[in-house]
């Protein structure tokens, strides 16, 4: 589809360019020769750029505020089952699914022949699919959002209790000191957790399929993913599986790869250290 559009635009532009060149050459008026000649040259350059930039031509013509809008919608939608994503592009519906490969072996615990065997097995695992696939190794920040949120809630509760205790004249010093100690404890725990990022390394395959509608594309991609997962499991001897929901999104979206609360806390701690 895109290739046809690209070729069509190229032919139209080159055609106009040739016509202008012919007009330029068939007259004796130097100004007409010059104007049509220059137009012909500009069009020939624009025509060639169609080979790479066709997708920008129409959005560029509609450009507003120096922004070329290629797509105003979300990049994808999550399928109802939550284990694949659906992308609509130029009238075609694509579905993409991921296969997680839990590899727990480390080279430090392998002998040289084992390393060689592992390398060759992995190489074979890459060539396992008859379809286009993407194999990725991703290092992501471990999601501590929930834990940090809980800690911050504890911290807020303790601060509130401390404020109430301090404003209450009847409250004794022991209680106030205990609350102050508890507050310091929560602050220290949050600070320790945020002082370094905990990271995880995951390996996964990506497969896509297209169809006339969402259901067809999802069905085809699941079939491919199941076949591939079986092949990977057999080759590498690990239980490959299709991730869902947030686990799937952590392979796709930066805000899931680097969770919001965790990052906020890291930025906050960094700012405190830098004295901002």
């Amino acid at each position: 589809m895109a290739l046809k559009t690209q070729m069509l635009i190229f032919i139209i532009l080159v055609g106009i360019s040739v016509v202008f060149a012919v007009i330029s050459l068939s007259t004796t008026n130097p100004i007409i020769i010059f104007i049509f000649g220059v137009l012909s040259l500009i069009l020939s350059v624009v025509a060639f750029s169609a080979k790479y930039y066709t997708y920008l031509y129409i959005p560029a013509a509609k450009m507003k505020n120096k922004t070329i809008v290629l797509n105003e919608k979300e990049m994808f939608i999550l399928s109802p089952s939550g284990n694949s994503i659906v992308v609509r592009d130029e009238g075609v519906t694509y579905a993409t699914t991921f296969i997680k490969v839990p590899l727990y072996r480390s080279s430090t615990e392998m002998t040289d022949p084992e390393k060689l065997d592992f390398g060759r097995t992995f190489s074979r695992a890459i060539t396992i699919s008859k379809n286009t696939t993407k194999i990725s190794s991703e290092m992501l920040v471990v999601n501590k959002d929930e834990y940090i949120t809980k800690l911050r809630s504890k911290l807020d509760d303790t601060s509130q209790l401390l404020r109430e205790a301090e404003s209450n004249e009847k409250q004794n010093t022991v209680t106030i000191n205990r609350l102050k100690g508890e507050l310091t404890m929560w602050q220290n725990i949050i600070s320790n957790i945020s002082s370094s990022r905990s990271q995880a390394l995951v390996t996964y395959y990506t497969v896509s399929a297209f169809g006339d509608n969402e259901e067809e594309a999802i069905s085809i991609v699941h079939q491919r993913a199941e076949e591939l997962a079986t092949g990977i499991s057999a080759t590498l001897g690990v239980p490959a599986y299709i991730p869902e929901g947030d686990e799937l999104l952590s392979l796709l979206e930066p805000n899931y790869m680097i969770p919001v609360e965790t990052v906020n806390e890291i930025i906050r701690q960094k700012s405190i250290k830098e004295g901002i």
Binding site: L3, F10, V14, V18, F20, A21, P30, I33, F34, G37, V38, L41, L43, S44, V45, F48, S49, Y52, Y53, K66, T67, I68, V69, L70, N71, E72, K73, E74, M75, F76, V87, Y94, S106, S107, T108, M110, K115, L116, F118, G119, R124, T127, S129, T132, T133, K134, I135, S136, M139, R197, Q199, V207, S208, P254, N255, M257, I258, V260, V263, I267
Partner: protein, 274 residues
Amino acid sequence: MDEETIMYLGISCIPPFVILITAASTGIMGIILGIFAVIAVALILMINYVDFMIFPVVTGLLGIKIQLSKDHYCPKEQNRIIKYTNGIYYATGYLTANLYNYIFRAEGIENSDDSEIILAPEKWERIVMNIDFPFKFNVITNPKDVQKYREDLEGDRGFLEFQISRESNSSNPNQMTLTELQRKVNVLQAKIDRMSSGELPLNTIMYIETTGVGISEKDASDALTTQLNRLETVFHTFDLNIIRITGREIHTLHRLNYVLLDPNSIDKLFNLQH
């Protein structure tokens, strides 16, 4: 260069060449037009070979940013994708990571690549240990038609064997030419043997992706640049050809995160790599 690019180049250069040839006879205007025609041909060639430099310059000068989807945009420098969500900016950048040396070694007929395979997991783990920010190493594979590829290889091998036979039967055979031809035959034979052992012939694209975070676009972009520089340094242990990706390829790589294109489009991407 593939046939399609040659066709595009050839047809696009027709109008400039026609103008160049005929304009010289039309006086001073013609000479100026001739100079413009030469510039047009130069521009066409530049778009073909270094568009990754021209495109960011054009968008930079005009201050144009490209919105790729609701949350993602590519700033005028065209070297990163920005996502803004929940008050945080995420800047994603890409590096090429083609393992050229490993491909050449894989073509070797002896087991000279064994030591590299043994060292690879260790090198990888060392890299992972030394990096404290998120990144992805991606390999896109596109299997070729086994039968056609095998027939092509056998055809090439047959032609080389014919050249060896002709050289050997000549009155004064050149030993260096014979050795070189024999080496090429061995490389082809090694590929055929690998396919016979069950390996699929593949096209591969490898690239590294990382994301920097910050409370402003500049913060995130600065973090990204630092991360990319660090990745460039640590991945050098793998003999990778690493270059920061700029221009339209950024848009394609961003899209490849969500959908793997159909095999024809992917093949086109492989062709564009050269």
